[in-house]
């Protein structure tokens, strides 16, 4: 009850500013996630986050009444450190829809488009110069689970080539105008920080972690 209330409060305050627009709210134990805040995992290990950046693309909304599909083929950049990125698709009245599917990350054609503008701007820090393409999701922070001196972890998760095309399909019911992204589900099942605390290349590992991340949307 209490946790739901927290999330409710945060989203309520936010809704006043931008009613009816889609938001994705990263959370830890159902509370809106804050950068540099120390959280505890299930096994009482400490963890905090310094970076959470990700891409969303190819939205498909299902209309409540008609069941019709509205497709929006666009690329959206989300950065927990920048509140101006929190609200998506500003012209869409979200209460008209009851389901949405989207891609967590970018598909191969977006990766190689060479666009470099707006959400594609390399200044956002998601561009991989040595191997054309973008990181789908960046996650970094500190945790007592990391047994190095600094306890830092850092994940640049991406890659669009067969067989580890790592962008993930996500489908969620739109009960509210926000989608929850619960990160506590990741540790230790999806990411075992004791084993892997730095990952910056495409491949099977990145693919599996992104798969696990996709399952964290409500």
């Amino acid at each position: 009850m209490k946790v739901a209330f927290h999330l409710f409060l945060v989203s309520f305050l936010f809704s006043i500013a931008c009613y009816g627009q889609l938001r994705i709210i990263p959370s830890w134990d159902n509370k809106a996630l804050e950068l540099e805040q120390v959280y505890l995992t299930e096994n009482k290990d400490s963890i905090s986050f310094s970076t959470l950046k990700m891409y969303f693309s190819d939205f498909r909304f299902r209309e409540k009444l008609s069941g019709g599909i509205t497709e929006i083929d666009t690329l959206i950049f989300y950065d927990l450190a920048d509140s101006s990125t929190y609200v998506f698709l500003k012209n869409l009245e979200i209460s008209n829809y009851d389901e949405v599917s989207f891609t967590l990350g970018l598909d191969s054609s977006k990766n190689v488009s060479g666009e470099l503008e707006n959400a594609y701007d390399p200044l956002l820090g998601m561009y991989w110069a040595w191997n054309t393409g973008y990181v789908n999701l960046k996650l970094a922070g500190k945790s007592s689970l990391v047994l190095t001196k600094t306890h830092d972890f850092e994940f640049h998760l991406g890659g669009y080539r067969f067989p580890y095309a790592s962008a993930q399909q996500v489908q969620v019911d739109l009960l509210d105008s926000y989608i929850q992204f619960e990160l506590s589900l990741l540790f230790p099942d999806v990411i075992s920080l004791k084993k892997t605390h730095h990952l910056m290349v495409p491949g099977k590992e990145a693919f599996l972690i992104l798969q696990g991340l996709a399952a964290c949307f409500n």
């Binding site: 190689v112 060479g114 666009e115 470099l116 200044l123 040595w130 191997n131 393409g133």
Partner: protein, 343 residues
């Protein structure tokens, strides 16, 4: 009456003509008639002479490197077909040594994949790579844009050409691409002979060389580009220190181990040293390399395995003479590609 009206028209007509002429100096990019359509997306970056001049100035300006010591041209020199003269692997700032040889730059508009491992899929995006690479220019993009913003010359130039007061990476790389895409080399003796132009004909030795080239080399080094988007092994063993596995680094596929881009042979006479790590310095030794290969090596690409290169001493000289017909002096000395700064 009539006469003065005519004069008036003539005056206006002439001013309009002069005005259009001034703003439409031809962009150096051109499409050789017999060649296929380019792959470069010109719609996303329409040819514009002023942007070309901006790109050219940037290409030659060390402002792009962290300590303002090297420019693109430090590694890509016009007289050596825009390759890195005399360095097996390229040198970046503070003398840091890269892993690979800087390839010559020509006919990039027709390419889909760039770099020895094909890791770069877009000519615009390519430029981000050397600028930010620690062994090359080692410059943070945001600091670079800040520098350009503060330079009265560049901020004015970006405003004039791109209409922006907020220079973003895509402005910068599009300006650079206006320059690199225009490096068209299609005017060698070979091209002229093929076009039956200026009464040019091959010498007997060059003709013999061309027959040998067609028999042994053209399966990979395909005309009219003589190289490009293919990745093959020509039998070079793994370099024990550089440990560069080529295409496999990008695809993660074991079958791509030790495959490298088939480099263009245009202007090959000038783009020494040769191969992805510059391990062979003389062109005649490259030819020798092909004659001395172990053709039972299963890692060798099939074009060579199925068709071993056998050449007598004389035939090697013939082949060398043919390769030299791929030299395009108008390209190597084209004034429009020379060093320039902004006025």
């Amino acid at each position: 009456m009539k006469g003065s009206r005519f004069l008036l028209f003539a005056f206006f007509g002439f001013s309009i003509l002069a005005f259009t002429l001034k703003i439409s100096i031809p962009h150096p990019f051109y499409q050789p008639k017999e060649w296929p359509k380019p792959s470069y997306n010109f719609k996303g970056n329409p040819l514009d002479y002023e942007k070309f001049e901006l790109g050219r100035a940037l290409f030659y300006d060390p402002i792009l490197s962290r300590d303002s010591s090297i420019s693109c041209a430090s590694c890509h020199l016009q007289f050596t077909a825009f390759a890195h003269v005399d360095h097996p692997t390229s040198h970046g700032i503070e003398g840091r040594i890269g892993k690979r040889n800087a390839p010559g730059l020509a006919n990039l508009a027709w390419r889909k994949l760039f770099h020895w491992d094909g890791g770069v899929l877009n000519l615009n995006a390519q430029a981000i790579n050397p600028i930010t690479h620690v062994a090359e220019m080692d410059m943070r993009l945001d600091s670079l844009l800040y520098r350009l913003d503060r330079s009265p010359i560049y901020s004015a130039a970006f405003k004039r050409t791109f209409g922006t007061t907020d220079i973003r990476p895509f402005h910068l790389v599009k300006a650079l691409a206006q320059f690199t895409v225009s490096l068209v080399s299609a005017n060698s003796k070979y091209d002229k002979v093929m076009r039956a132009e200026d009464d040019q004909v091959f010498t007997e030795q060059e003709s013999k060389g061309m027959v040998l080239f067609t028999k042994f080399c053209a399966s990979c080094h395909k005309p009219p580009f003589f190289g490009g988007d293919d990745f093959k092994s020509n039998g070079l063993p793994l370099h024990p220190e550089l440990l560069d596995f080529g295409r496999m680094t990008i695809t993660g596929n074991k079958r791509d181990s030790l495959l490298f881009m088939v480099p263009t042979l245009r202007n090959i006479e000038y783009s020494f040293p040769y191969m992805h790590d510059g391990r062979i310095s003389k062109l005649k030794d490259v030819i020798k390399h092909y004659t001395l290969l172990d053709y039972s090596n299963p890692l060798l690409s099939k074009e060579l395995r199925k068709n071993p290169v056998k050449l007598s001493e004389n035939e090697q000289k013939d082949l060398l003479a043919f390769l030299k017909t791929l030299t395009d002096k108008t390209f190597l000395f084209d004034e429009r590609f020379k060093y320039s700064t902004f006025k």
